[in-house]
């Protein structure tokens, strides 16, 4: 390289580089703000705070009261438990469209006259166990067909969506089954130190989910299976068994959600859990979990759930109709995902 070339090069470099360096500086500032464990969810925190400000301005004290906060959390808890389960499946490279249907089936099965009679004679935990087992069984069917039958998760769980809700309708004969086991409602629907048990369950599930995903070999394997199944297989991980377990896990989460719904509504029906699949997937995705698998965040999912529930609450307090609410939801999903992608790109990781 000649001296002359290098001179022109450096001149041009400064002239071409100057403006981009400026924008680079402010962008890096943003990056610093967004990166790091706490800041990664900053976009979500801001979104949630904005919603709260809107709530405060439009509904004032009715929004910020302790009771209203608990209402929001109680509403969030059921879909929250489902979403934590969904986070695992999506992180593991799958999808579960049948969560709502499994919730319905579990709630109906756990509230049949037979189950309730047995529970009344023995212990209310019989209802809980029934719901969890039904959820686990549905998950096992999903997982086995997907992992060992090599069918697409989308198709298998779509079939389960139709099948499980249909079965729920047959069992309940499209009637609402009122829960008569009072201890069940008293315990699950009650409060401990003023905090609804439902909210406590959600908190426990979220913490357990976080530990499972981030601190255990199960979590590591989930990330590997979702990120590169072939690499996971060649590294000696039993990918099929692991995939099956993931669907069983979300099934159990649905069973638990059904228990919580039974306590909150004091009834089991085949219409429980309508459209939960969409709400859960939306919460997971705006939380920052990759829809293609390989990266998942429980904290993000919890924020995603809280954002949607707070939105619903603010709309309800202001007596706005559900259609407007649906539009707002759609906008939030798009904006949140766009924002997440920006942050991810700045952090040197893929969208």
């Amino acid at each position: 390289m000649s001296a002359q070339t290098s001179a022109t090069a450096s001149e041009e470099r400064t002239s071409a580089g100057a403006p981009s360096r400026d924008s680079g500086g402010s962008l890096r500032g943003m990056t610093a703000l967004f990166s790091g464990p706490a800041g990664r969810n900053l976009g979500l925190v801001i979104a949630l705070l904005l919603l709260c400000v809107v709530g405060l301005i439009t509904a004032g004290d009715r929004f910020v009261s302790f009771d209203n906060m608990m209402t929001i959390l109680r509403l969030a808890s059921v879909i929250g438990v489902v979403s934590v389960g969904m986070t695992f499946v999506i992180t593991g490279g799958g999808i579960d469209l049948s969560v709502g249907a499994i919730v319905a089936l579990s709630s109906v099965w756990a509230s049949t006259i037979a189950t309730q009679t047995l529970a009344a004679d023995t212990h209310w935990l019989v209802m809980v166990t029934t719901a969890l087992l039904v959820g686990a069984a549905c998950g096992l069917v999903n997982g086995t067909l997907i992992a060992y039958g090599r069918m697409a998760p989308f198709i298998v769980t779509l079939a389960m969506l139709a099948g499980a809700r249909g079965l729920a309708e047959i069992i309940a004969q499209k009637r609402t089954q009122v829960v008569t086991v009072n201890e069940f409602i008293d315990v699950i629907g009650g409060r401990i130190l003023g905090i609804p048990v439902l909210v406590i369950i959600f908190a426990v599930v979220a913490v357990a989910g976080w530990i499972l995903l981030n601190r255990t070999t199960f979590g590591r394997r989930t990330l590997a299976v979702g990120g590169n199944p072939e690499a996971a297989r060649l590294a000696g991980i039993n990918v099929k068994r692991h995939t099956t377990l993931l669907y069983v896990l979300v099934g159990v989460a649905c069973g638990l959600a059904a228990v919580m719904l039974l306590a909150r509504t004091t009834a089991g029906t085949s219409t429980h859990g309508m459209l939960y699949e969409l709400d859960a997937i939306a919460a997971v995705v705006i939380g920052g979990t990759l829809l293609s698998g390989g990266r998942g965040t429980i904290v993000g999912t919890v924020f995603g759930v809280l954002i949607f529930t707070t939105l619903t609450n603010v709309f309800t307090l202001n007596n706005l109709d559900t259609s407007t609410q649906a539009v707002a939801k759609g906008v939030i999903i798009v904006v949140a995902v766009l924002l997440q992608q920006r942050v991810a790109a700045r952090n040197g990781s893929p969208p």
Partner: protein, 512 residues
Amino acid sequence: MGPREIQVTAPEGQEPLLRMSGIVKRFPGVKALDGIDLEVRAGDVHCLLGQNGAGKSTLIKVLAGAHQPDGGTIRWQGDDIRIVNPQDAIDHGIATIYQELDLVDGLTVAENIYLGHERARWGVVARAEANRSAAALLRRLGHPEVAPDIEVGRLSSAGKQIVSMARALSHDAKLIVMDEPSAVLDQEEVARLFGVIRELAAQGVAIVYISHRLEEIREIGDRVTVLKDGRTAATGLAAAETPTSEIIRLMTGRSIEYVFPERSEGQRGETVLEVSGLGRPGEFDDVSFTVAAGEVVGLAGLVGSGRSEILETIYGARKAKAGTVTVAGRRLRAGRVGAAVAAGVGLCPEERKSQALVLHESVARNISLASLGRFARGGFVNRRDERRAADDQVRALDVRPADVQRHVRTLSGGNQQKVVLARWLLRECRVLLLDEPTRGVDVGARSEIYALIRDLAASGIAVVVVSSEIEEVIGLSDRVLVISDGALVHDSPADEIDEHQVLDMVMEGEAA
């Protein structure tokens, strides 16, 4: 900055085809390119050299429009241009074969070749015509056996490399950039590739050629540019006149004795791995051999001769149709990776990106993936132990940057390869199967890896190595097996055979 060798190369006043000057590219936390200069003339084969992570791939991605530079200028045929995206680069006549293959597995060979510039009539893809011209390109590359209408996902990695090359040729480019095209090719195919490169150069097409196989440079290169830590260490060197030792010194800043470690004599243990009559119709037949504890056995053969398939079958990733695999006296169930893993077999697979790496994850997590159990108590991962073990591996293999928290996808190709190898070195295996362990690794790190493999063997592990470089197979192994056309044609101690004999045997099967 290192010493600069400046040689006036062309007649005064003749504008080079490409002149990149002062190119700067930053990534979060690293300055990958720190003012690089590169001049390429029409009809020249310009070799770009540098250690793993020196910035070679980043530079050519800037040229290909895949990255936007943070500074510097690109002059193309006398005009200053900005290359805003890959399509723009292609429109200017710059075609690129990337280091990591970028083909769509679900499309056919012809569809991949013409992706983005489909042969179409009134918007309808002219399949027959595309297939015909794709076949012509493949013939020109010396690979008439690659059918234009089969899915790319079914090809071997060498086959995919060939499709990538055909794609670059299909653009009628003035400059073709090749990022380590020879890493997955065997001698024969490299020779064919060089034939095509010479032909292109004679037509006035410029080639930028990246490789870690320094002997190739002298064979094909006209000019050499050496990068070091994101800077130009030397540019425009005449390839024929610069000694290899000088190039290595420019690349690494020190002189490296490029030798294989001593073989350990005598102390061979008992047989650990016994393969007998192993076969998969259409891939390989009746393969039998044994490997003793402490022994390194090398498998030589052409790409597609069945080498990788044999390893994957031993590991259970492919199901054996005939024969048995026995590890320490216990027969493994065919087609079960779990059984092989439980018996202490490890496989470092051929293709790092599709078969080995979890790209979203950190270096540490990728290294620990196959030995998670070692760091776990009651299902909980002890992250401090994990990080420490990963740190040790990263230091031993000289992964750069030496930061185990980085995402694997931000590492350069050669450094990713070291991560894959680290995973299997960390795992305590009885039998270690290594498929192209030094693919894309630079000269400096290579010697380290050879020494590590030797150490492993000395500690009583049975090692099987597959490599396209015959020199590597012979230099590293105690015993050499030659695979030709799916059959085991030779088995002898490594010091009783030389490169030419192996090459002859390998070719014979090809001719038959």
